[in-house]
Amino acid sequence: MWNYEKRLQYPVNIKSTNAKMAQVIISQFGGPDGELAASMRYLSQRYTMPYREVTGILTDIGTEELAHMEIVSSIIYQLTKDLSLEEIKASGFDKYYVDHTLALWPQAASGTPFTATFFQSKGDPITDLVEDLAAEQKARTTYDNILRLIKDPDVADPIKFLREREIVHFQRFGEALRIVQDHLDARNFYAFNPEFDNRPRG
């Protein structure tokens, strides 16, 4: 069960609109390495995860990713809320505007809609945690790419916070992978899959 806190995890206060920036940053809402995919990935993987430290970290990082999705959405909202029709046409935002007006909709910067194929939930703890480690690095690279394009410190500041969280999550998933390996056969980590072969049944 979840509860909502009426605040952002990190504040967003953007003073000037920028439709071009919004069209790039939206990838971290609904793109392949975005926050929505991150949250759904971890919250889907946790049910069959047999080690409680790892179930805990998947639950809590999956929850934090929802808060990150809200930060990214707030950035896009503030970057677009005061756009004039002239700015919409000149920035190329018209192709998004025609389908969604100024509303938030999860898509990649390329316009590709969000899809569950952006993430995997494989039912093998090594496989899933290696996916999670890669996902955090891919998101970190995306934020680095965004930061090269940004001049406005009001936008760069929360983006830098989100980038740092990717690094912290990568660290925690690395520790989770080590915890998993400590439970396995040290001579052959793949001797059995603890999410299938050694289930406590009944």
């Binding site: 069960m1 509860n3 946790r46 049910y47 409680r52 430290e53 179930t55 805990g56 639950t59």
Partner: protein, 85 residues
């Protein structure tokens, strides 16, 4: 407290929490309904008391409900989808 008492207390929390969830939705569209506002306060107090009692005996329901000071009991079994075990 035993397993039966845990299940009973948890069922009570399910009931009080759902009454609260449903009242919140009603209040979102009827923000000045005095009866609903009173009912909200009543459910909130009942839920808070039940959560406090549950967390004292059976472990945390939220991170803020972790009572132990020498161990992070948040990660301990059972997780909600394992409650039947």
């Amino acid at each position: 407290m035993n397993r039966n008492e845990r299940d009973e207390l948890l069922n009570y929390i399910y009931t009080a929490s759902f009454a609260l969830d449903d009242t919140i939705l009603y209040l979102d569209t009827h923000p000045t309904d005095k009866d609903a506002l009173d009912f909200y306060q009543k459910c909130r107090a009942i839920r808070m008391q039940a959560m406090k009692e549950y967390e004292t005996h059976f472990g945390p329901l939220t991170e803020e409900g972790v009572k132990a000071t020498n161990k992070w009991t948040w990660i301990e079994d059972p997780w909600p989808w394992e409650m039947g075990r």
